[in-house]
C-alpha cells in the first residue's frame, strides 16, 4: 500500500494543477485523476494535452492515471461532466483504441473508474463486461469507486457483491472510499464524507481478492477536520486492519492515499 501518495484532480486542465504537479515532483508519488480524457471521442486537442502532460508525469513519478469510464465531450458538445457510455460494439472498439493510445503517450497504466449513473447498463452486466473487455485488450487497470458502486446498487436494486463477482478483480489496483454527500448520482465533486458500512464491507471483500495498491480517502477524513472525520479514519483503519494510520497531514491540494 503506497502511503503518502497524492491524488490530484484534473491537474492537466489548469495552470494551478500543473503548478501543483511541479511542486510535488520529487517529493511525493502521485496518482492523477483526469476526468476529461474524453475516452470515447479522441480529438487533436486531447493528443496535444496528453503529450504535454508526459514530462510532468515523469517528473512527479506518477504511478498511474485514473479516468472515469465515461465521456464528457463529443465532437460538437462539451458536457463538462463524465456521462455513462453505452456499450455498443463501436464504442468498445473506439474506447479500447483510445485507452491504448493514451497509455502509450503517457508511458504509464491507465485506470478506468466506474461511475454512478441512471442507465440500466450498470445493472444488466453490459457495462462491467465492457470494462473487463477494454482492460483485457489494453492492459489497463480498474479503479473501483465503492461509493459509486453502493449508490448504483441502491438506485438500481442489485447486489453489489454479485456485481463484484463479474468484475475482473485481478485488475483492481485502486479503491476509492467515500460517501456521496451531494444530490446527484454521477461523478462530480469527489466523495466528501467518510465511507458507510456497506462500502467498508465491500472494501474488505475486494482487498482480500484484488491486488489493490492504493486506497483513496476523502481529504476531510485524512485532515481530521472534525471529530467525525477523525473517528472515521480510526474506524476505517481498524476495519481494514491497517497496521498504521495514514498521514493526517496530506500535502495541500490533493486527497491522500
Amino acid at each position: 500500500m503506497g502511503w503518502g501518495c497524492i491524488e490530484l484532480d484534473n491537474a492537466a486542465a489548469t495552470a494551478a494543477g500543473v503548478v501543483r504537479l511541479r511542486r510535488l515532483a520529487g517529493r511525493q508519488a502521485i496518482l492523477l485523476w483526469l476526468p476529461e480524457l474524453a475516452l470515447a471521442t479522441s480529438t487533436t486537442a486531447d493528443a496535444v494535452a496528453i503529450s504535454e502532460l508526459r514530462p510532468l508525469l515523469d517528473a512527479s513519478r506518477a504511478l498511474w492515471v485514473t479516468t472515469p469510464l465515461g465521456f464528457s465531450r463529443t465532437p460538437e458538445l462539451d458536457l463538462g461532466w463524465p456521462m455513462p457510455l453505452l456499450p455498443g460494439p463501436a464504442v468498445v472498439s473506439s474506447v479500447t483504441a483510445s485507452v491504448a493510445a493514451i497509455q502509450g503517450a503517457l508511458g504509464r497504466q491507465l485506470l478506468l473508474e466506474n461511475i454512478a449513473h441512471h442507465f440500466p447498463t450498470v445493472a444488466d452486466g453490459s457495462e462491467v463486461a465492457m470494462l473487463n473487455a477494454i482492460c483485457e485488450a489494453t492492459g489497463a487497470g480498474i479503479a473501483l469507486d465503492l461509493g459509486a458502486l453502493v449508490r448504483n446498487a441502491q438506485n438500481h436494486g442489485f447486489d453489489p457483491e454479485r456485481w463484484l463477482q463479474t468484475l475482473a478483480l485481478e485488475r483492481v489496483v485502486q479503491l476509492r472510499l467515500g460517501e456521496w454527500r451531494d444530490t446527484g448520482a454521477s461523478r462530480g465533486a469527489p466523495p466528501s464524507g467518510p465511507p458507510d458500512e456497506d462500502a467498508l464491507a465491500l472494501a474488505e471483500t475486494v482487498l482480500a481478492r484484488a491486488p489493490v495498491r492504493a486506497v483513496i480517502l476523502p481529504s476531510g477524513v485524512l485532515r481530521g477536520g472534525t471529530d467525525m472525520d477523525s473517528h472515521a479514519l480510526a474506524r476505517i483503519s481498524a476495519r481494514l486492519r491497517w497496521r498504521r494510520m495514514p498521514s493526517q497531514h496530506p500535502l495541500p491540494g490533493g486527497r491522500a492515499v
Partner: protein, 472 residues
Amino acid sequence: MLATIAEGTACFVLDDGGVLFSAERQEMHVLNGPAMFVWCCLESALDLPSAVAAYARTFSLTPSEAERVMADVLCRWQGLGLVTDVRLRAASPVDLTTALGRLLTTPQLRRSFAQAPLELARSMPLRESDIPALLALDPRALEAQAALLQERLRQMRHAPAHESVSPPRHPAPPAGGFAACHRYRLLGTTIEIRYASARAAAIVHPVLAHLAVLEEFGPHAVLEVLDAMPGWVIVEDGLPRVECRRLPYLAPLVKSAVRRIALERHRCFAHIHAAVVSDGARCLALPAAAGSGKTTLTAALVHDGLRYFSDEYAPLEAPGMQVRPVPLALSVKPGAADALLPRFPHLAQLPVHRREDDQAVRYLPPPGPALPDDAPLPISWLVFPRYTPAQQTILRPLARPQALRLLLKECLVLPRALDRESVEQLVRWFRAVECFELSTGNLDEAVRLVLALCQQPEGSGTTLRTASPERP
C-alpha cells in the same frame, strides 16, 4: 420547408457567415458561408427542391451532393436543438456517443426517443450496429441522466472560481494604527488599502501607485494587508480572504484582489482575455491566451506612442462593446524582459514578484502619458497575436466569423445570461471591427506593423508583412 426553426433560436449575418444563437441552451455557434446559406434557406421557407437547387448552383455541386451536405447540416442542428422536423435524412452516420450527447442535451430529441426510439435512431442516423445499444436504453433513465447533467451544469455555472479552502486566519489590526494607507481607482471603483507594516506597503504600493487617487474619492471597498507572523493576511471589507506566506507573493495577491473587486463591481457585457491599446479615439485589442506575447507587444506599443488600456482584461460594455481602461501594471515575464529592456531600461531594476501560479513577473507601471482617462472607447481593430520565434512577422486580415470564434475562446466571463438583443449587439459591433492575425517573430517589426495599421484608413484590409530577415 426543410425544417422548423426551434423557438428562441436566432441567426445574425456576419460577413458571408453568421452567428446562430440559442437562448434556451445559452449557446452561440459561428456559421461558415455554406451553413449560413442553409440557414437562409430555412428562414426563407424555401421548399426542398428549390433549396437544394440553390445550394447546388451556389457551391457548384450536383443536386445529390447538395442534398447530402444540407441533410448533414440540418440533422446536426436538430441534434443540437436548433431546429426540429428536419425533412431530409442525413447520409453520414453518427456514432453512439455523439447521439447520446445530443439526446442528453436536447429535450425535443428525448421526447422523440420516448415516442419512437427506432425511428429517431434511424433519423439521426445512428450506425446500424449501434442501434440495439441505444434501444436498450429506458427513456426514463435517459431523462433522469439528462436532469442530472443539467443540475451539474447549473452547479458548475454557479460554482466559485476556486475550490474552497479553509478560511485564513484573521489577525488583529495593528494597535498603533496602519503604517500606510492609499486609495486606488480602477474602473470607477475606489479601493482603499491599509498596510499594517511599512514593509508590505513598500512591496505593494509601487505596483499600484499609478492608480492612486486623493482621499476625496470615498472608498467603495477596503483592503487591509495585516501582518500575520509569519506572512500576511489580506482582509477584504472586514473578512479575511487570502493568506500569504512569502513576501514575493504579496503584491500579485493584492493586485489580483484589486482587479477582482473592480471587475465585479463593473457592469459589462463580457470580460475578454485581451490586451488593449488606443490611439486616443479608437482601441486595438489583442485577444490571446497567456504566452502569446501580448504583454510584450503592448508594452512596446505603449512606449512607442499608443495609450495603455490593459495587458490582460478587456471589459466590453454593451451596447457598442466599448472597452474601458483597466490599466494595471503590465506583468512582464522573465522571457520578455530582454526584448523590452531597450525601451524600458529600468525594467531590470524592478523587483521580481511571484504570482499564485509560481510564475516570476516584474510589474511595469505604464508611463504617465500613456494613461488614458476613464472613458470607454470603441474597439476598431482586433489583432490576434501569436509569438512564433524565428519566423517572419506578418499581419494578415482574418475573416470575421473565424475571428469571432477565436474571440469567444478568450471570453472569460459573461456576467448575465445572453439574450437575442445582446447577441445582436455583439454581432453588430463585430461587423464594424477589422480583424487580423499577427505572427510575431520580431518585436520591432510587430510594433511597426500595428502602428501602421492604426494609421491606415479603416477597411483597407491590406496584408502587411515584413521583408527583412527575422531574428529570434
